[in-house]
Each structure stands twice: as structure tokens, then as C-alpha cells.
Amino acid sequence: MAEGDRLTGSPTEVRGVPDFVGRPGPSAYHRLNPLTKATSATVTAIAAVAIGGLVGPIVLVTLAVIGPALAAGVLGRLVRTALLLALPIAISAFLVNLFFFPGAEQVLLRIGPITATAEGLGFALEILVRILAISGAVTLFYLTTRPADLTVDLERRGVSPRVAFVANASVQTVPAMVERAGQITAAQRARGLDTEGSVWRRVRGVVPIVGPVILGAIAEVEERTMALEARGFTRPGRRTLLWAPPDSSAQALFRWALLLGLVALIAARIAGWPS
């Protein structure tokens, strides 16, 4: 056999890249280039902060989040996920600003030493809408883009394969590590660690659980490193990609337009316009 072909004979019939690799999304919005969706999410979030006030972010959300979500058919899930994401912050933000807004006179409500003020309410609403805008924009991206699609697109544009590797591997490591933490908790409980007792007993359980999660993962680093280097990982420079998400000059133009618009908005805000 020719040198190098020792282990595998010639392929029976030529088969191309299977269709499940880079399968296009269900809707037009899904099929947009990942960088376009990432840029619009980031610009929407920053713009919501820069515009401030109440009406601005609401209009922004309707245009940049609700509209596309409807088109992509993910509005239901978007609302649920975005609310779940925003809830912890929104509640705290609302309460803190409502009751603790300094220098406010118009007292709406007084409960003992704490007073709810109109100015506080106004600011609280502003922060609430801003937080909803940010989590809406981020959730829209999360629901319509596979992380691997964004990293392969960035890699095509010249981002180092190593950075793309870390991003992709992190996405798979988080759920794997949560599962590992569950197994470790079971193993320690089997050795008498009481995780159902008082708070103090549970705090004592932190080291026997967090310890193996970290040390167990680090113990695997050695073998993972060797396995990667045994498959040519150390070869410098770009690598071949099986596919790359489609992009168009129109989308590229749109991305630049968004960025320039954002810069202009921030510059205007800093210059004190419109107040």
C-alpha cells in the first residue's frame, strides 16, 4: 500500500460534507450571518443604555428585538427566556431605586423609615426598561444562533483557531461540569457528607464538592493536551473549515452602519444633546 495509506483503503464512493454540518436555521433571521446578529444584539444593548429615558428603549426594543423575534418565530420563547434572565436584576433595580432615590421630594408612599418617591419611580422604570432591552437583545441572539456558527464565522475572518477552540470548548464544558458536580455531590454524600443539614453544615460541604470539581477537571488537562497534540493541534496558522455561514456585502454594510450609528449616538449623548 502506498506509504501513509496503510491503515485505510480507498473510499468506496465519494461522499461529500454531510447535510447536518452547518444545517441552515429554520427562518430567514436564523440564516443571517452570525456576526450580523451579534453586532445588532450588542449595538441594541449599548444603544438602550446610551438613549436612556423611557420611550427610546421601548421603541428600540420593538424595532430591534420584538420585530425580528416575530419574523424568526421565537417570540414566545424570547419573552420567557428574556424575563427569566432579567427578573433577578429587574426586581432589585426597581426596589432599590424606588425606595432609595436620594434627594427626592415627591413622596408617594411611606413605610416606616423608607419612603417611595416619584423621582425614584421614574428612574426605577427607566432602569427596568433598559434592563429588559439588554436581556431581550441578548436572548434574541442566543435563541437564533448556534455558538459554533459564530466561532466558525470569526475563524473564517481571521480570528485565531485557538481562541475559537476555547469559546467552543467552554460551551460544552459548562453542562459537563454541572453534571460532574452532581456526581461528586453524590459521591461525597455516600461518604457521610450531610448536605441537607443546617446552613453551617452545608457551608462545610463546599470544599469537598468544589475541590474535586476543580481538581478532577485539572487532572484531565494532561490527557486532553496529549490527545489534541496527537491530532495536529500545534500546527501554527489557519486550519481548514468544513463550512462557513453565508455572508453578503449588504449585511457587511448593515453592520458598519449599525456601528457608526452607535458611535454617533454616544458622541451626541456625551455632547449633551438632546437635554
Binding site: 460532574r180 456526581q183 461528586i184 453524590a186 459521591a187 461525597q188 454524600r189 455516600a190 461518604r191 457521610g192 457528607l193 450531610d194 441537607e196 443539614g197 470544599v207 469537598p208 475541590g211 474535586p212 481538581l215 478532577g216 487532572a219 484531565e220
Partner: protein, 268 residues
């Protein structure tokens, strides 16, 4: 009175997987029981009910006559010690000795009793000389023996081992066998999940075979590895030990271990 009793045990995982489909099993004190069967046959799910890590969907589990559902995992841990298959899922202490002390300390043991139990466990696992070593400086096979020692030191009436010989060499397997013999010798119960048919045939006096969440065979190695039930074994991806195959081929009856085959040949 049975030390461990499982009645009509059913367990359905939240994904809908019916891992146990009505299991009845009684294990007396001092018995040595091997639990074998293909991965996914429900072996690990069953043993996790013995120390309360899993609670039954239907049916009952009793330990020393007490219903396990009335006891917390921490309470059951003083009765049923469970050694997990992957040592890296539990090791956290900086030294071998500290890792072995973790279990007994949780059970409230201290002082000379604790020190004796720990030293004895380390001795049995062949780690007596490594008390101050960092567990992660040990090789994979000795870390597995460390995990075994860390439960052994708890001196629980019931000791459950999940694939103790996987990844061990000849000397490691021999050490595990010696530990099972010693623990059973003290009248304590040993239950082990294993795929090593020779280790099972030579070390355990009762073999329970599982398939798809049910018990399909339960008896001495002689009965479970006899030729007439080989198709049942193969239905759960198990091959009888070579000694049993030869015993059948030479028509000298059921000979699950080398010793039993030789003895039958010498008598024949």
C-alpha cells in the same frame, strides 16, 4: 433476618427511562454478592437505592429492617458504604491520609479509633507508605485503591463496590479480592458490580444477573455459569469464564473457576 431487602423496586428517571422494572432481592449479613449485566441493565441504579442516593418510584428498600425512605443519606452512609467507579469524582484532600479520614470524620469518629481504622484501610489498599503523598501524584490504579480505602475506613456493615477491578493490574485485582475476603470474613456484607467474570466467579458466593432493569438469574456461581443458562447470560452481553466453557465441553458439569475444573478433572 435479611440485612438488605428490596421489594418490587421500580425506578423511572425524570427523562422517562425505566431503569428498574420491579426488582425483589434479599441479602443476608455476611453474604458476598456480585451484581453483573450489561451497562444500562440497572446495576448502578439498584445499588444507589441501598444508601438512599436514589429513592424508589415504587416499592421499598429496607436496611437492617428499617425503611430506607425514613433515613437521610448521611444516616444511611453509616450503614452502607458505596465506592464509586471513578476516583477523580471524590478526591479533594491534599494528602492520602486526609482523604481517607474524610468518611469516618463525617460519621463522627475521632481519636485512636479513627486513626486505627484509617491505618488499617491504608494497609489493606497497599498505601501505608503514601500517607503524606498528594493523591494526584499517585497513578490512576492506586487512586482507585485510595477511593476504596476511604470507604473501607468507615467500617460500614455493608460495603458496595462499583467495578472495583476496572483498570487494575494483576496485583491490584488481587488486593481487591483480599479486601473482599477480609470484609466478608468479619461477617460484613459485600455487594460488588463487576464485568470481570473470573474475579466474580472466584470471589463471590452468590451472583445476581440483571437485564433491562430486571433480575434474570440469582444463584451460586455454579448455577449461574452452568451451560444451560448461557443464552440468558449472552442476552445481557456476558460471556461465561473459560473454565466453565471447558468444563461443559469436557462434560464434567458446571466448573466456573479454574480450581473447580481441575478438581472435576482430577475426580473424573
Amino acid at each position: 433476618m435479611a440485612e438488605l431487602r428490596v421489594e418490587g423496586l421500580v425506578h423511572v428517571y425524570d427523562g422517562g427511562v425505566r431503569a428498574l422494572d420491579g426488582v425483589d432481592l434479599a441479602i443476608a449479613a455476611g453474604e458476598r454478592v456480585a451484581l453483573i449485566g450489561q451497562n444500562g441493565s440497572g446495576k448502578t441504579t439498584l445499588v444507589r437505592h441501598l444508601n438512599g442516593l436514589l429513592r424508589p418510584t415504587q416499592g421499598r428498600v429496607t436496611v437492617d429492617g428499617a425503611d430506607a425512605s425514613s433515613l437521610t443519606v448521611a444516616q444511611l452512609a453509616s450503614r452502607v458504604g458505596l465506592v464509586f467507579q471513578d476516583p477523580d469524582r471524590q478526591i479533594f484532600a491534599g494528602t492520602v491520609r486526609a482523604e481517607v479520614e474524610f468518611g469516618p470524620r463525617n460519621l463522627g469518629r475521632s481519636g485512636s479509633a479513627l486513626r486505627a481504622a484509617v491505618s488499617e484501610a491504608l494497609e489493606a489498599a497497599g498505601l501505608a507508605g503514601d500517607e503524606g503523598t498528594n493523591p494526584y501524584d499517585l497513578g490512576q490504579s492506586r487512586r482507585k485503591l485510595l477511593a476504596l480505602a476511604s470507604v473501607l475506613a468507615m467500617r460500614t456493615p455493608v460495603l458496595v463496590l462499583d467495578e472495583p477491578t476496572t483498570g487494575q493490574d494483576a496485583r491490584g485485582t488481587e488486593r481487591v479480592r483480599a479486601i473482599v475476603e477480609a470484609v466478608a470474613g468479619e461477617g460484613r456484607t459485600v455487594v460488588a458490580i463487576s464485568h470481570d467474570m473470573r474475579f466474580v466467579a472466584e470471589t463471590f458466593d452468590r451472583v445476581v444477573v440483571m437485564r433491562a432493569g430486571r433480575l434474570i438469574l440469582d444463584g451460586t456461581p455454579n448455577s449461574v455459569f452452568a451451560a444451560d443458562v448461557w443464552d440468558a447470560l449472552r442476552s445481557t452481553y456476558l460471556e461465561p469464564p473459560l473454565a466453565a466453557v471447558l468444563g461443559d465441553r469436557l462434560g464434567v458439569g458446571s466448573t466456573p473457576t479454574d480450581a473447580s475444573l481441575i478438581e472435576r478433572l482430577r475426580a473424573g
